[in-house]
Symmetry: D2
Subunit: 426 residues, 4 copies
Amino acid sequence: MIVNKSDIASDNQKSLQDHQDKFDFLSNSLAKSEINVDDLVNKLADFQVAIPSWALGAGGTRFGRFSYGGEPGTLEQKMDDVGVIHSLTQTAGAISLHIPWDIPTDYEAIKQKAAQHDLNFDAVNSNTFQDQKDAKESYRNGSLSNTSDAAREQAVQHNIDVIEIGEKLGSKSLTVWLADGINFPGQGNFQSALQHTEDSLKKIYNSMPEDWSLFIEYKPYEPNFYSTVIQDWGTSFMLANACGDRAYTLVDLGHHLPNTNIEQIVATLMLKGKLGGFHFNDSKYGDDDLTVGSIKPYALFLIFNELVQGMQHNPQNPYPAWMIDASHNIKDPLEDLIQSLEAIQEAYAKAMLIDQNKLMEAQAANDVTLCQEIIQSAYRTDVRPILEKARLERGGALSPIKAYRNLKVRETLIKERGLHSVASGL
Amino acid sequence: MIVNKSDIASDNQKSLQDHQDKFDFLSNSLAKSEINVDDLVNKLADFQVAIPSWALGAGGTRFGRFSYGGEPGTLEQKMDDVGVIHSLTQTAGAISLHIPWDIPTDYEAIKQKAAQHDLNFDAVNSNTFQDQKDAKESYRNGSLSNTSDAAREQAVQHNIDVIEIGEKLGSKSLTVWLADGINFPGQGNFQSALQHTEDSLKKIYNSMPEDWSLFIEYKPYEPNFYSTVIQDWGTSFMLANACGDRAYTLVDLGHHLPNTNIEQIVATLMLKGKLGGFHFNDSKYGDDDLTVGSIKPYALFLIFNELVQGMQHNPQNPYPAWMIDASHNIKDPLEDLIQSLEAIQEAYAKAMLIDQNKLMEAQAANDVTLCQEIIQSAYRTDVRPILEKARLERGGALSPIKAYRNLKVRETLIKERGLHSVASGL
Amino acid sequence: MIVNKSDIASDNQKSLQDHQDKFDFLSNSLAKSEINVDDLVNKLADFQVAIPSWALGAGGTRFGRFSYGGEPGTLEQKMDDVGVIHSLTQTAGAISLHIPWDIPTDYEAIKQKAAQHDLNFDAVNSNTFQDQKDAKESYRNGSLSNTSDAAREQAVQHNIDVIEIGEKLGSKSLTVWLADGINFPGQGNFQSALQHTEDSLKKIYNSMPEDWSLFIEYKPYEPNFYSTVIQDWGTSFMLANACGDRAYTLVDLGHHLPNTNIEQIVATLMLKGKLGGFHFNDSKYGDDDLTVGSIKPYALFLIFNELVQGMQHNPQNPYPAWMIDASHNIKDPLEDLIQSLEAIQEAYAKAMLIDQNKLMEAQAANDVTLCQEIIQSAYRTDVRPILEKARLERGGALSPIKAYRNLKVRETLIKERGLHSVASGL
Amino acid sequence: MIVNKSDIASDNQKSLQDHQDKFDFLSNSLAKSEINVDDLVNKLADFQVAIPSWALGAGGTRFGRFSYGGEPGTLEQKMDDVGVIHSLTQTAGAISLHIPWDIPTDYEAIKQKAAQHDLNFDAVNSNTFQDQKDAKESYRNGSLSNTSDAAREQAVQHNIDVIEIGEKLGSKSLTVWLADGINFPGQGNFQSALQHTEDSLKKIYNSMPEDWSLFIEYKPYEPNFYSTVIQDWGTSFMLANACGDRAYTLVDLGHHLPNTNIEQIVATLMLKGKLGGFHFNDSKYGDDDLTVGSIKPYALFLIFNELVQGMQHNPQNPYPAWMIDASHNIKDPLEDLIQSLEAIQEAYAKAMLIDQNKLMEAQAANDVTLCQEIIQSAYRTDVRPILEKARLERGGALSPIKAYRNLKVRETLIKERGLHSVASGL
């Protein structure tokens, strides 16, 4: 299914005047604070977030899964789904493939499909946390950190294979999320597991083309419940430094212990030029993988404040790779992704509203009350008209969720694919 | 120092037109969704939050304290400070006394002072977590739960004394926060500590006048670090039920383990008619006692959603007592309280914007995406013009923080009281 | 496969003298502190813990599952596995069935099988967190709390069906673990979800035979990640009170927020006569379901201290139902269960070593140092000879893990059932 | 007060035979597993832990403090207290001074006092988290990270002063615990705070004598409740690397977010040669500063397992500085410290009992059950006779707590110093 610009435009029609009024009022109001709203709209419109290929089907928990009708059964269908989201939001201009769940069979066809939907291929993701059928070695006891040479070699080789697949599609980076770890004290040796991981990552790093980057993810727990080899940003940062200049840390919002100050980690990594990528989601307890902005929108805004600062003032840091990494257990996955994109844009827009000059002055004067007023003033602003404007200018929907429903996307997908289609992969 | 309505009015002058434009635009916009903004303004204006007598001086941590100039040295000066806050915000129409830190010497004078500032006397608070000079029994090993009969009796009697003081001032409720607990496994017996506490609370309850209420606070840890006798809402609720109809649970936002769903606790208590009072603050790690809304404003909004529902639909629950309970370690305490009041009103206003009928329909249809849209739409609205309007109608300041600074309140207080005055109590 | 007493006895032979020496030395040493070791051995031998029918196969996480050879494919095979464990440990004298995963087809055969292995049927467990094939109503949006009457009725009826199955086998209690909850703020109404749950539980309670008990489990999160209807012991306790005298709270060690003082909850429930059952496991982060005692053995000991006290001094509380509820992701499930049983017995034995009279005296004197000495002295004692003795007297193995391996149980199971058998259920 | 070896010896007399019996039995038993108990006793006897000068008086919380009779009022008296502890335990052979609380007035006298008690001077500690009387600059808004040049310079100079004091006493290292951080989002700039801190630390580092080491402590929160500049080991490690070879990370057990795997951090730091020091205490919720081993003794054992491995196999890491950093709110501080030392020695002894060869084999074979058996077997051993032996050989007490009481130390201290003496410092 393809959502046409003309369909979107006609759906926008009835809310257009209301949008225009609100945008003009807000625009005038912000202009008094010397905020250039046009510039803000452009930056928003340029901001593109990748959708991972595993996010288009219903997710689940260890207790089971409630499936959703019309799930995409092939990589092509997954790309169509991302195409729908991108048409409506104009913010999802990339797809991030997970290997081996989504290995292309016909690369040219896949690349044409991407071009048709105006999508880039973002970072490719390897998988060494599950055993594939007919695999010689098992990852039950680890992959890049395994005590067995053969298992480590298999895992390294898999990553090299993933890089090759990515090269054929135009990807420029590899994301390594390592589930490796142990469930019980004594089950493994911390030092040798770390050393093995470092050695394996170096091999992968050295196998990358020269214009590629390596993103090293970290996570404190799950699926291992006593220790994870790359447990925190400090470990990832250390490993990235050991690999080389094009190795970076990747931050996933849900991969932190309770109460972690994530925005501070972001600031540190960007100061040191080592923030490579960012996975968006939200959570209350652990790696809950909920819709972005659904639980802690203020924390997301504070993180974006650091991202905005870093993108402006830290030339030592590359432009980060953005991706949504959520699990859609209970909502229509496409609606969930649209809500996530809206929340990301909202946080980004609000962060750009912070008057950085005034804030620096207030910080220098240790005027704590005023610092808080400045931050909260930006956050309290209703930026929805600006988001609408950014989408409108690119041909997207004023309200993507409403348009998605008005245009009967899910109904059409179910008609096309059936009620009991099952997404490949997880 | 007294802040006059005329001074406030003249300070408001320069922002009045801007306020009016924003309020009108928002008002028109909300009217399209059939929201009665006048009604909302009235409810906001009626909402009054008590300021505790210990909140007017600089707080500290166990590592020390950085004092603030012009701190109030007497109960009268503390009331003056609350008067200033109330003049500017029109939301702080009550004071909550802490005994023995703030025992009135001349009750009539104190009552006149309250009337002059338009303040009520909210719940009175007892203190059995510190030893007072010349006290016969020590609370080192507990108060209402102490293994010693004499210590328990002294603690019960102190609460009865506090009630008597409250009666003379017109208070109608007693808040008991019990620090009792232990630092080490085995230090005390859980069952007997709980039984002693229940017995002691019953004695206090039975000593109250018939129109008084008892509020029982809970807290998981600090100042005891292994166990606290009243560790959670379940224990408080059980004790309140054991005492009788006019005993209630009091929720302090900071008194929960990491990740607790506080809004659900609020809903449960109101369903059962047992939410007596609410202490506002914010926190990231523990009982951090930060400015309300400074860390998790969305959680505050969700809590207010439950409070609004409960106030409308749970006649079994009394109107709760509201109080700010924060510690102003680093900001001017009056500015901090003003920011807290603003955040409370914002959350209250946004909660009232939720379209409850649509939400119920969406919930009944299990339309999870739509439920989220409805909730977030209310939250994303910029309600500051409504807050301004509510203050304006009562003679308060459009922007209380700006007015506080323009009117040079702190400078005047320092002039009046000196740079090194020290607040009584903590 | 059946493990014979004679095989065990001959395997014990080579360690018997070593055991006897250690037991005698410890026994003499404890006798000096007036501890009756024989009494302790008898109590240990009488302590029986149920094995749930879902625990005999390899568990998994949402990221996948690594299977184990020789998994039991039928209820009969599961019972054989419990039989093996019980033969070796003499502590696993009961099985707890999960319905609909393990519905007996031939009740008489199943009961004979149980008798043969010397097993009782403990509490039966219902399942309303997954949709069964051909179910009319889905539990995607809840079961006992669902907004739909039909879904609630189906869930209530399922529980009634489970009771009937249990009756046929001689079970005397039903455990209800309710996954009901929501993933997003606003997705459901807290008050009506709680009210529905209370009403549904009452219906189930009133359908039970008069000699049955209802155990109500609580859990803060997972598989729902914003709110769970029965989120804590306070909610479970409130619901149990609403149902009636034979409704109780069930505590699962892994179902708590970080840092919860679980032993205090146990003490409170036993004081109020409401601790119905206990699920053992261990965890570092969330509901990790690791081997009992593998992460926090001291906390387990402190919990057993409260259990021992409650069993002795709280006649108002029934004898609790004990069960292991762990997930064996990485170890041989039978070995994991044996290690869990060993840890439970160790904690129980050490708790019985606490000199309660001295402890009470020290508590009354507020001698905090001495209280800690008494508690730690019990904990520091190496009680393994006592555990060995308790097993030995009943015909169990001195070292169950070693015997399990020496007797080649897993190898035999793989031979009997194949390398790729898959456990029914999860 | 001085505790003489002869007094201790005569107090030991009545338990000597009992000790000898238990030691012999254990020794024989361990010999069968080829464990050289004499070697173990020697290592234990050599293990010395510093007592900080602020730990000899009663601690408190922000809610107040319950004082203890006979507190040391001067540095000399504090050294006497450490002398008492060392006499009894033979494990507290060092003192760690906190400046400016404990600046010596007569260096020669202090050094003689140390020699008399057989004490070394361990790391010196600076204090930039409180304002000292007559200080020109305030640390209210930070010290090494302050936006003000003057404040940073004052803080750097203070550290240089502390080094000079330490040099005169024979210390060889400086511990910097930095409370710097912010309470509210926006209050400060993360990047500039980190950069200032790095620059300040480099100045301090470069001012140290060439044989000195710098220990950089980290802590996630308290006394600041939104962000701390050096929030975790990763930040400390990064700063230590930036300073140079003799800058190290210092781990304090209480300075971690909930559920952190501390033993893994220890292993990583030792592998990289960067673990400089270790502060012992215990906690359930935050930085509770409870007696070592009173809450999570198994975690302490697992940490010691890594420390033992690192001391044996990581020559790249210096021998770490050991110190107890607890707050004695409710117990006699000397008794509390003695209990802490006992718990440290117990964990150390048990860690040395782990059969590392068998463990490595089991790890290589991925025999998870056996790995756990090996670890738990060491932990379950009652090592108290070994601890007694180690003390006995050096002239310490078989049971230091009992001896402390039998010798009436506290009573004597109260007689000498009075009931209301107050410890200098916190």
